[in-house]
Each structure stands twice: as structure tokens, then as C-alpha cells.
């Protein structure tokens, strides 16, 4: 109990301090605007944002004003992209660990590809794919996949390489073949590396899906909501969509953590 308090009290104090600063800043910033500030404040107060968020969530989920609906659209592209990146990333990691030439020729390019601001290319990807008839979920999922691919590959490569010489030697004394080494040692050992990578990948997939919704003129999704709100100067809508996007990221990370918990339980308390 005391330990829990020792850990949570500082977090509570910091969050409360941030909220207080936010509230005070909002009062100062919006004071000169007077009545106008109630609908379009330059900096909305926390409870204004919470109100707009709640109003958006409580809409019937089919309504175009429902934040749940928009979050669902974004989540679907993010999930599809993540799934694609997961399959490709793990496959490529296995190939890289097993084929020396791939490791030497491909790995530097995978690392270099991350220095390219991939999100910048999102409008082009959307336009090009739209041109050959692929609209909606596919372009968004591809952008999400491109972003989440990297952490999955690198963490999986590191994980598959994590067994130490002494462990590999032990398996050799059992005259284990390549497949046995992979299935009994490398794959299980990689999991504790894969999950942190998957967490990063999942949040990146959400970011990718949101940014991919910006240039499409998309009608649905949190990115489209952000763009529309910014276009019409609806600050409360804007902040609500932003908080919703953050909640979505938190949920997505929670799902990865949940999957990790299940795996830990299946394996009897260890990863």
C-alpha cells in the first residue's frame, strides 16, 4: 500500500500541476475574447475539452459526429497496417538472421529507411494508390505498415540473436538441428525483445493512420476530423479529436501489453 502510494503520488502531483497550469493559461489566454471564447477558445480549458470529448463519445456510434465512429475507422487502418507489418517484419527478421547476405545487404537499408521522413510521402502514396483504384483502408494501412515495420524487424532481429554462445553450444551438444535451435531457443528468446518493439510499432501505426487521413479528403477517421476541425476553426472539436487519438494510442498499447500478459501466463510466469 505504501509502496503503491510512493509510486503513484508523484504522478498524481505532476498531472495535477500540469492541469492547473493548463487551466490558468486558458483563463489568461481566453479572457480578452470574452463571450466568443465559449465556442472557439484559443486554448480551451480542461473541462471544455472533456465536455466536447464526452459529447463526441456519447453520440450514437453511427453518427458522423461520433468520435467512437471516427476512432474505429482509424483503428481499422492502423490494425490492418500493423498486422501487415507484423507478418512481413517477422518473416524478414527470420530471413535476416538466417541468411548472412541479407543481413549485410538489407539491414543497413532498413536502418537508413528510417531516416527518411516516411510520413511526408503519405499524400503521394494516397494519390498514387487512389489512381489505380485503391482507396479507403488500403493506402492508410500501407502507410501505417511502413511505419510499424521498422521496430518489429529490428527488435525481432535483436531477439532472435539474443541467445548466448553457451546456450547455442548446449543445444549443439544435444545434436539439435537448425530448426530445433530456432523453435526451442531463438524463437522463445526473441519474445522479450519483440514486445517492446511491438508497443512502439502499435503507436506508430496509429500515427501513420491518422496522418494518412489528412491529405485524402477522407470523410471519416480521426485525421479527417482533425483536418475538418482545423479548417473550420472548431477548436473544441479539434482538441476532442486529439484527446481521442491519444486515448486510441493508449488502448492500442494496452492491447499489446494484454497480449504480452497472456503469453506470460501461458509460459508459466516468464517471457
Amino acid at each position: 500500500m505504501r509502496e503503491a502510494l510512493r509510486r503513484t503520488l508523484p504522478v498524481i502531483v505532476v498531472v495535477a500541476a500540469l492541469l492547473a497550469v493548463w487551466y490558468a493559461a486558458a483563463l489568461v489566454v481566453d479572457a480578452p475574447q470574452g463571450a466568443l471564447a465559449e465556442k472557439r477558445p484559443l486554448l480551451p480549458t480542461p473541462q471544455q475539452v472533456a465536455g466536447a470529448l464526452l459529447a463526441g463519445i456519447l453520440q450514437p456510434p453511427t453518427s458522423p459526429r461520433s468520435l467512437i465512429y471516427h476512432a474505429g475507422v482509424t483503428a481499422a487502418s492502423a490494425a490492418a497496417g500493423f498486422a501487415l507489418a507484423f507478418v512481413l517484419g517477422i518473416g524478414l527478421a527470420i530471413a535476416i538472421v538466417n541468411v548472412r547476405l541479407l543481413d549485410r545487404s538489407l539491414m543497413p537499408w532498413i536502418i537508413a529507411s528510417q531516416t527518411v521522413p516516411a510520413l511526408a510521402v503519405a499524400p503521394m502514396v494516397v494519390v498514387v494508390l487512389g489512381n489505380i483504384g485503391l482507396t479507403g483502408l488500403v493506402p492508410k494501412a500501407l502507410i501505417a505498415a511502413w511505419l510499424s515495420f521498422f521496430p518489429i524487424v529490428t527488435s525481432m532481429v535483436a531477439g532472435l540473436r539474443s541467445p548466448e554462445r553457451i546456450q547455442l553450444d548446449l543445444l549443439r551438444t544435444y545434436s539439435a538441428g537448425g530448426w530445433d535451435v530456432f523453435a526451442q531457443l531463438r524463437w522463445p528468446a526473441s519474445m522479450s525483445f519483440l514486445f517492446p518493439g511491438m508497443k512502439v510499432a502499435a503507436t506508430l501505426a496509429v500515427v501513420g493512420a491518422i496522418v494518412a487521413e489528412l491529405p485524402t479528403g477522407a470523410q471519416a477517421g480521426l485525421g479527417a476530423r482533425l483536418l475538418a476541425a482545423s479548417y473550420y476553426g472548431q477548436t473544441l472539436q479539434l482538441w476532442a479529436a486529439l484527446v481521442m487519438a491519444s486515448l486510441l494510442a493508449v488502448v492500442v498499447v494496452g492491447v499489446v501489453d494484454g497480449a504480452r500478459g497472456v503469453l506470460v501466463r501461458v509460459r508459466g510466469g516468464r517471457l
Partner: protein, 258 residues
Amino acid sequence: MRAAGAPIAFGLIVLGLWQAACTAFHIPRILLPAPTAIVAAFGGNLPLLGADFVQTVLRSVLPGFALGSGAGFIVGLAVDASPFLRRGVLPVASLAGALPIVGIAPIMVMWFGFDWQSKAAVAAVMTFFPMLVNTVAGLEAPGAMERDLLRSYSASPWQTLEKLRLPAALPYIFTALKLDTTLALIGAIVAEFFGTPTVGMGFRISTEAARLDLDVVWAETLVAAITGSALFFGLAYLERLVTFWRPAFQSGSEKEMR
């Protein structure tokens, strides 16, 4: 340097296949321009690309990067001084780092206008959290043995910081800096999707993509790629110079890095 052979060969093969596929199958320019077409567009639009580079990289990315990383470092030092703050700020900052911060771009455009200030602000906020988290984590990196040694020398907290903890934090700080270069570029470019004076890499990419002028988009992407790689590898080089003492950078041990 022998190690660079394989990736370069691989890159050339990919480029060759790309060029061959474009000419052999007459892939429409709108779908995928050939590498030669992109290079031609790059050469033909140098003044335009240069203006975009100045607007986006020099006036938005670099100030935002410096401001965000610098503030993250300073706040990290301040947070480190108090165990209470460390326990309170670190979870919040880690969470903030996982949020889709790019989403604040429209708010920043609303606050700071269409010009570079709003782009630098987005880049600054995006780069702040990784630097904060890594600075605090890095200052914690030295083990009890090293700290005890300095205590036995009756070193002041300031001396401990200067001689032990800051050097030990450098690898973490460089990790954050390298991450931050990409984040700052992404932040500035995405913020330009929400409104710009009619110049800048993000503006060019979104408008030329809408006009299906993909050669220019690819050329602009090439500029972004070169900028991102130059910043990243420049920092990696600086890291080698500054933290030359790390085992990973000592010659002979590199082959055992896996």
C-alpha cells in the same frame, strides 16, 4: 569500409531493376517514375527545391529540433535533481512520447500562424519528450560502484554530474538526438499540410501530389531523404567522436556486436 560493399551493391541492383521495370513495362509516370526521371526533376527544379529546403529545414526543423531537444535536456537535468519529480515526471513523459503528438499541428498553426513558427513549435514539442526521458534515464545509468567511488573522493553533486553522470548519459542523449532528427522533420512537414505560406517541403509534396506531378514529389522526397540521412549520420559521426570510449566504438570489438 569493406562492410559497405554489400549494401551499396544491393542498392544499385534495386535501382537497376526499378529503372529496367519502368522502361520495359512502360509503367505510367503517375504510378512510379523511373530513377532517371526523378534525378532529372531534381536537377530541373533546383531553385524550387532549394527554397523549400530553406523554409522547411533551416527555418522550421532546425530551430524546432534545437528548442525541443534543448528544453528536454534542461528539464531532464532539473527533474533529475529531485527523486520525487523523477518518479512523477518519468511515467507522464513516457506516456506523452507514445501519443500521436503530430496531431497538435493544427493547434500550433492556429496559435502561431502559417509561417515557420508553427512548424518549429510542432517539431519542438515532438522532440521534447524523447530527450527528457533519455536524459533522465542516462543520468541514472552509472552503477552504485562508480557513484560510491566518487563519494569516497568526497565529490560534490555537481562534480559527480560533470565527471560521471553526464558522460554516462551521453549515449542515451545521442540516441534521443538521432530519434529527434526524424521526428523534427516529420513534425515540420506534417504541420505544413495544415497551412503554409506557399513554400516548404510538406506544402510542395501535398500540392504536387494532388496535381499528379509525381516527379517533383519524388524529387522532394529525395531531398527529405538526403536531409534525414545527413542529420542522422552526422550525429552518429559526432557520437563516435564524443563517446569514443564506448566498447562498441573500440576497434576490434565491432565484430562481436551481435
